[in-house]
Amino acid sequence: MSSAQLIGDWHALAVLFVAGVVPNQIWRMLGLWFGGGIDEGSELLVWVRAVATAILAGVIAQIVVEPPGALAGVPDSLRYGAVAAGLVVFLLTRRSIFAGVVTGEVFMLAGKWWLG
């Protein structure tokens, strides 16, 4: 592996800073700044937490609905089926994350294998 692959160029690292680091740290530091006066059990916090959960849910849906990279090569039905199968097992196993993830993966890999 070459040093270019290991280290890369400064331009790419500058892009990381502008498009990756700053957009994330802005929200964290705003949270630090404005969170100071907010009480743990306040109604505003219940709303804010609900919005945070819903935005994360949106990211989950986005990766499945508009998949990146190699996942785009998996048919829609297999991706949705994998999430659905994982969810069923997750609920049946009294919320075992491990069982849900493994089921989803096995469903997708088995489907890929079966479809050829």
Binding site: A12, G20, P23, Q25, W27, R28, L30, E40, V65, G69
Partner: protein, 246 residues
């Protein structure tokens, strides 16, 4: 491993608390989930021609799995810096309420804001989830040190995973690559669902998933924000309505 009782001398120094935080990394299934997710991010970075240093720097300084995946996939698919920055900024909005809700768990009446800067940086979905689980078992005046330990442990695990994933990438087939990318939505979905104890959390999660494809049809550029605020507000409405009736 169980954490010592709240009045144990094991909590007498911040360094001991840091150590307990570090060791707590071994007490959660989410560490394995994170390891595999970051294995995927390392592989994705390799396949989209980013350097290993770049991948490690993104984990250290961005420290948000979804944002890193969005950044790598958008830049890798030819988006401009501005387009990527907008997508990442929107995905990162959820860090704001996470930081707002998690920092009060660590604050004491004498805590200065600057003492919470590093804890705020370490806040991401896994730490947020685990803080709600672990912090009630930690004496309040040692919680910041505990979170520093927990966060540093998780970051270290992910840096190792990135490196392993990066070197594995050359050998991963298309199908295995897809399997690793699928781990991200599965693990985030189930870990969030497991921690949804109140009705408002469940409604927010379900509606957030259902509304995103509808919001995406608007192609507003801030689809996730639209579906998130709408779904979250409806979830809050359900919570409010139940409180009023009770």
């Amino acid at each position: 491993m169980a954490l010592p009782p709240l009045d144990s001398p094991q909590w007498n120094s911040p360094w001991l608390a840091f150590g307990w935080g570090l060791r707590s990394v071994t007490q959660t299934i989410l560490t394995i989930v994170l390891f595999v997710t970051y294995l995927g991010i390392g592989a994705l970075a390799h396949d989209t021609h980013f350097s290993l240093l770049w991948a490690l720097a993104s984990t250290l300084f961005v420290w948000a799995g979804p944002a890193q995946i969005i950044l790598i996939t958008t830049l890798g698919s030819g988006a401009t810096i501005v387009q990527s920055a907008i997508a990442v900024t929107v995905s990162a909005i959820r860090l704001f309420p996470m930081v707002v809700s998690v920092l009060p768990l660590m604050r004491t009446p004498t805590t200065k804001r600057r003492e919470l800067v590093f804890a705020a940086h370490l806040t991401a979905v896994t730490l947020w989830v685990e803080c709600h689980r672990f912090l009630p078992l930690v004496p309040r005046e040692r919680r910041i040190a505990f979170v520093h330990g927990l966060g540093c442990g998780l970051v270290s695990v992910c840096l190792v995973a990135n490196t392993v994933g990066y070197f594995l990438a050359a050998n991963l087939t298309q199908t295995l690559g897809a399997a690793i990318l699928l781990l991200t939505p599965l693990s985030f979905l189930f870990s969030t669902a497991r921690n949804s104890r109140e009705v408002a959390d469940v409604v927010a999660l379900v509606l957030g998933i259902v509304l995103y494809p509808l919001a995406a049809k608007l192609s507003s550029g801030v689809d996730i924000l639209v579906s998130g605020v709408v779904a979250g507000t409806i979830a809050y409405g359900v919570h409010w309505w139940r409180e009023v009736r009770a």
